[in-house]
């Protein structure tokens, strides 16, 4: 009987320890490997057009997916926290693809460069918004 109680205690402790590790350590430090992730390839103009024509459908296809977006850099900037942002132009001068670069990304780009940006699609405001982006190709 004592053996069963001891085993149960060990099991409960192991479960509690595992849960604590998963929630507070693993989940907090888990880093997504953007470079190795599978992605949907699309060009900036087609992506913007998809959201402008039918946002609900575009959300179903692209929201929270990893995209590899080809386009021409129209703006390079920094946001309020100092993170670098790149905007790729589309055929519509009022809408583009704005990507916030991951802090680990060190490649430099300039306006007019034709590049490919890879990141998570977060939806559409004035621009299609991409997060955790890396520059896949210059």
């Amino acid at each position: 009987m004592k053996k069963i109680i001891l085993l149960a205690l060990v099991f409960i402790l192991a479960l509690a320890g595992g849960s604590y590790y998963y929630v507070f350590i693993y989940s907090k430090n888990r880093k997504f490997d953007m470079a190795a992730a599978e992605a949907i390839s699309i060009d900036a103009t087609a992506l913007v057009k998809a959201f402008q024509e039918n946002e609900a459908n575009a959300n179903k296809t692209y929201l929270d997916k990893v995209l590899l977006i080809k386009g021409t850099v129209s703006i390079t900037a920094q946001n309020q926290t100092g993170e670098h942002t790149i905007t790729l132009s589309s055929e519509d001068p009022f809408a583009g693809v704005m990507a916030t670069l991951d802090s680990t990304e060190t490649k430099q780009v300039k306006v007019g460069d034709n590049i490919q940006v890879k990141g998570f699609c977060k939806g559409f405001l004035s621009d299609v918004v991409i997060n955790n982006a890396i520059i896949a190709d210059k």
Partner: protein, 181 residues
């Protein structure tokens, strides 16, 4: 000759009235902070891609954010926030549309911190509610920055979940910090 004078008169009236001088300030990288810490564990996130515009003459303003753009320190918490509470695939955006009601008190050509009052409609999770709050509009070198904090009752927006009122505070604090570069 009469027409020429009439044209000059109309032009003068419009100039005096400030016609055509209205300025729209805009940013796509404003910040909105969310904090719903109810217990020991911090439940807080930031969105660095807030899209906002306001008009200097009328005080009309809009803020829009993508729910999936909120970043938590803990990825698992972020997943729960999106899937179990905000249903962000179904309701991907939140926005506020309203007015700075005392915009006339702000002198855009003079640096300073101006108290503002804001009225409008906040839409989260597909539900709209009226919001009235206060904040500041800071002018520094001609660049405006809007700051403010207000509370929202999570349940007023049709958001439910087992930890609301426990680990998750029933009232979430929303802080806005938008610099219109």
């Amino acid at each position: 000759m009469y027409m020429k004078h009439l044209f000059t008169l109309l032009l003068s009236i419009f100039s005096l009235a400030g016609f055509g001088q209205q300025k729209v300030f805009a940013t796509k990288t404003g910040q909105i902070f969310f904090n719903a810490t109810g217990g020991i564990e911090k439940i807080a996130a930031v969105n660095n891609q807030t899209d906002s515009k306001f008009v200097d003459q009328t005080g009309q303003m809009i803020f829009a954010v993508l729910i999936k753009g909120f970043k938590f320190e803990n990825q698992l918490m972020e997943d729960h926030f999106n899937e179990n509470y905000m249903e962000s695939s179904k309701f991907p955006k939140a926005d506020f549309k309203g007015f700075i009601t005392n915009i006339k008190d702000v002198n855009f050509s003079k640096d300073g911190t101006y108290p503002i009052t804001v009225d409008g409609n906040l839409t989260i999770h597909g539900v709209s509610n009226k919001v009235s709050t206060t904040g500041t509009l800071v002018i520094e070198g001609g660049v405006p920055e809007i700051n403010g904090t207000f509370k929202v009752k999570i349940k007023d927006y049709g958001i439910s979940g087992m930890y609301i009122g426990d680990k998750i505070a029933p009232d979430a604090s929303i802080t806005v910090k938008c610099k219109y570069l």
